[in-house]
Symmetry: C2
C-alpha cells in the first residue's frame, strides 16, 4: 500500500503513529496519552511538535484534551453526533469544490434515502411519524423563511431515515442529506413549490403510516424529480 512517506513532517509522523495506535486498539477509549512532555521525550522532538500532532488528532475528534493536574489527552469516544458533523463538513466541501451538478448530487441523495424505505416501513414508530407530521404542519406556514423551510425539510427527512431504526444507517443518510443543504439553499421556494413539496411529504408520511414501502419509494422519486426541476429553473434564471 503506502511505502516510505519520504519526508512528511515530524508532527505528521507522530500523529500517524498515535492514530494507528487508536485505530487498531492499542489505545482504548478513555485511555490517557502520556503528557506532552513525555511524548516529546519518547519521540525525541520538542513539545511544540508534539502539540501540533495532537491538534491534528483533536481535529478529527480522535482525542480530547483536558487542562489541569491529571489532565492531558484522552482517547475520545466518538459519538454518532460528532461523526455525523464531521461527515457533513467533509461532504459539503466535497460537493462545493468539485463543481458537482445539482442533478448528480440530488440523484445520489435520493438514491441513498430510498435505501431506508423497506426498513422504515417495517419498523416505523409513532415518535418519528409525529415528528414528520409536525414538520409538515410547520412547512405549511406561508410566513416561514426560506431558511426555516429548509431546516424543517432536513428535520422531516431525518425523521424518515430514523424510522428505519438502525443507527448506523441513520448516521450515513442524515449526513448525506445535511451535506446537500447548501445546494438546497440555492433554491428559493415559491408558495406553489412549497405546496407541491408539502403534498409529497404528506404522501410519504401517509405511506409510512400504512407501511407501504413501495409508495414511499415512489413519493421520494417524485420528490427527486420535482427538486431537480426546481434546481434547473434556478440555474436557467441565474443564466439570465
Amino acid at each position: 500500500m503506502k511505502t516510505a512517506k519520504q519526508t512528511s513532517s515530524l508532527s505528521v509522523q507522530i500523529a500517524d503513529a498515535i492514530r494507528a495506535a487508536i485505530v487498531d486498539g492499542r489505545l482504548l477509549v478513555g485511555d490517557r496519552l502520556p503528557s506532552e512532555a513525555e511524548l516529546a521525550d519518547q519521540h525525541g522532538v520538542s513539545r511544540a511538535t508534539v502539540r501540533e500532532a495532537l491538534k491534528r488528532l483533536a481535529a478529527q475528534s480522535l482525542i480530547r484534551t483536558e487542562r489541569g493536574a491529571f489532565g492531558g489527552a484522552f482517547v475520545n469516544h466518538l459519538s454518532y453526533e460528532e461523526a455525523r458533523a464531521q461527515q457533513v463538513t467533509t461532504s459539503t466541501l466535497l460537493l462545493g469544490m468539485n463543481a458537482v451538478s445539482f442533478q448528480v448530487a440530488c440523484e445520489a441523495r435520493y438514491a441513498l434515502e430510498r435505501s431506508c424505505t423497506a426498513l422504515a416501513a417495517a419498523r416505523r414508530s409513532d415518535a418519528t411519524l409525529t415528528t414528520m407530521r409536525t414538520e409538515i404542519a410547520r412547512q405549511s406556514d406561508p410566513d416561514l423563511t426560506d431558511e426555516a423551510f429548509c431546516a424543517s425539510d432536513v428535520a422531516f427527512h431525518r425523521a424518515l431515515v430514523d424510522s428505519a431504526g438502525n443507527e448506523v444507517l441513520s448516521y450515513h443518510l442524515a449526513g448525506s442529506v445535511e451535506a446537500m443543504q447548501p445546494l438546497m439553499n440555492m433554491i428559493t421556494f415559491t408558495q406553489r413549490s412549497r405546496a407541491e413539496i408539502v403534498t409529497l411529504h404528506t404522501k410519504i408520511a401517509d405511506s409510512l403510516d400504512a407501511r407501504d414501502a413501495a409508495a414511499i419509494d415512489a413519493a421520494l422519486t417524485a420528490l427527486e424529480g420535482y427538486t431537480i426541476t426546481l434546481g434547473k429553473s434556478v440555474l436557467e434564471q441565474r443564466a439570465r
Copy 2:
C-alpha cells in the same frame, strides 16, 4: 446556532474562523492564506498558536502547506479520494467505539449498497463488469489469504457501486463498504463459505450484465443474510 463558545482555546477559534471563510466561499480553492506571521499579527497571537490552528485545518484536508519562498497555506482541493479516506476513518472508528452489533452494521451496509442497483442496472459499463468478473476469478483461488479475499471483496463491491455512474453516490457507498472491513475481517472464511459468496457474486455480476435491478437486489439481500449468518457463527464460536 452556536453562540458564545465560552472558553475555547485561541487556536480553535482561529481555526473555526478560517474554516468558516473556506466553507462559505470567502476563500476559494487554490487561494493562499496569509503567512503564519501575518495571521499571527492579524489575530494578535503568537505564531505557535496560528500553527496549531493551521494543523487542525490540515488534518481535515481543508488546507495544504508548501514550504519555501512563495509557499504557505493554500485552500486545498478536496478530492473524492481524500474525502473518502476521511469518511472511512471516521466511520471505522464510529463502528469500533460504539459496540455496534455485526448485524446492525451489516444491515446498514447492504441497505445502502442496494441504493445503487437501479442506476447501476441502467448505466452499467463493460469496464466495471470486467473488474467484477476479474475479482470473482481471484476469489475462486483457494490459496488466497483471508486478508486478500476481503480486499478483493471490497474491490468487487466498489466496482458495483461505481457502475451507477454517479461519483457522489460512489463516494458515500464505497466509504460505508470500506468502513465495514475491520468487522468483516473477524470472519474467517472457510472454503465452503467462500464458494457460497462467489456464487452470489456471480449472480450479482450476471444480473448486472442483464440489467436486472431486482435480481441484483435479491442477490445482495441473500449475501446480507449469508454474511450475518457467518457473523453469528463466529460470535458463537468465540463465546466458547
